[in-house]
């Protein structure tokens, strides 16, 4: 690979790491279209490198949330039973799905993410009311497990973290405080992505020459972002992210419709 390509991947990784850690969005939702549309990686390889980057973001940032005791590790590990199972089955399945179908599914998920982030941006406008982080009673475990199985499946198939699926279910139906739900989802992503990444690694879909500069960028980006997080207003970043994911979704739909992704 040329040094220019190495640098480009490093910069892409850095931006994804910063944005991911600031907004609590895993980053896969931006990374996969970036490397598939502009770097020309085949969908399966794009998903493979994205999974590795998602593990990097989750590991680097969840260390901080666990240390601050925001993460509910017991809830996280219970739901991980479902996310890892979903991720594992989906990763096996992904190998039998053709690139165009995968790209189409990704474009649909992008649209859903843009929609779900709009709600998140709307809420972040208001000053966050202080929600107690302890003393809640978790409800609706079966629904939480089902959502986790689905989130794990999408993670293994599309190389994303699955936060937009898990966080709303944990918050609205399991009655977990939003910050706890976000931190716990982030905590689960590392294990979930690692499960499917092992399958992609076995299939040779994770190219270290592409993944190394990306992951190095993601690590530096998320470590930096974790330090400046409380000084940045996430509202504007979310608006930017909604515009970007909307644009990516449109481009992917267009490319699928005009016979791309073969």
């Amino acid at each position: 690979m040329t040094d220019g390509g190495l640098l480009l991947l490093g910069v892409i990784g850095f931006v994804v790491g910063v944005v991911g850690a600031l907004t609590g969005i895993g980053g896969g939702v931006v990374l996969v279209p970036l490397v598939a549309l502009y770097y020309g990686l085949p969908m399966h390889e794009a998903v493979g490198v994205s999974l590795v980057s998602v593990i990097a973001t989750s590991t680097a940032t969840s260390a901080l949330y666990v240390e601050q005791r925001i993460t509910d590790i017991r809830l996280g590990m219970t739901l991980e039973l479902a996310t890892t199972l979903g991720a594992f089955l989906a990763a096996l399945l992904a190998h039998h799905i053709d690139r165009r179908t995968l790209a189409l599914m990704f474009a649909c998920f992008l649209s859903y993410s843009a929609f779900s982030m709009t709600g998140k941006a709307w809420r972040s406008r208001k000053r966050e009311e202080e929600e107690p982080l302890t003393g809640y009673t978790i409800r609706n475990y079966p629904l939480g497990m089902a959502a986790s199985l689905l989130a794990g499946g999408f993670s293994g198939l599309l190389g994303i973290g699955g936060g937009p699926i898990k966080v709303p279910v944990m918050h609205h139906f399991m009655k977990v405080p939003l910050r706890v739900a976000t931190a716990t989802s982030n905590f689960m992503i590392g294990v979930t992505a690692a499960t499917s990444a092992l399958v992609y690694w076995g299939h040779g879909d994770i190219k270290t020459s592409v993944a190394a500069p990306l992951v190095a960028g993601v690590f530096s980006g998320s470590l930096l972002a974790a330090r400046i997080k409380h000084r940045v207003h996430t509202f504007y970043i979310l608006i930017l992210l909604i515009a970007i994911t909307g644009w990516f979704a449109a481009q992917m739909f267009y490319k699928v419709a005009t016979g791309g992704f073969r």
Partner: protein, 95 residues
């Protein structure tokens, strides 16, 4: 929350930190030394293996902590998650 679970949180945070930093450093070192040393790619691969293994290691550390605190329900859950990961690993390298 009791004091024991604080110990579990600290142990997990430390595991994640060590995993994150050591894989970051070896991937970075492999990329830098790759230009002058023949085994740069090996260092990068070790970095990726650390990255992929850290979540599994985190499960093991959690399982041990739960065992020490006699929270057997969560020992079983940790073992279950680990079983899925190991299955993925075994089938992954075969496929």
């Amino acid at each position: 929350m009791n004091r024991e679970s604080a110990a579990t949180d600290q142990a997990l945070a430390l595991t994640l930190k060590i995993g994150a930093y050591s894989s970051f450093v070896s991937i970075l070192a492999g990329m830098i030394f790759g230009f002058i040393l023949p085994f740069g790619n090996k260092i990068i691969e070790i970095g990726f293996l650390i990255l992929l293994a850290t979540p599994g290691l985190r499960i093991v550390v959690a399982g041990i902590q739960f065992l020490r605190e006699q929270e057997f329900k969560y020992v079983a859950i940790s073992a279950g998650v680990l079983a899925v990961i190991v299955t993925a690993y075994v089938l992954g390298i075969r496929a």
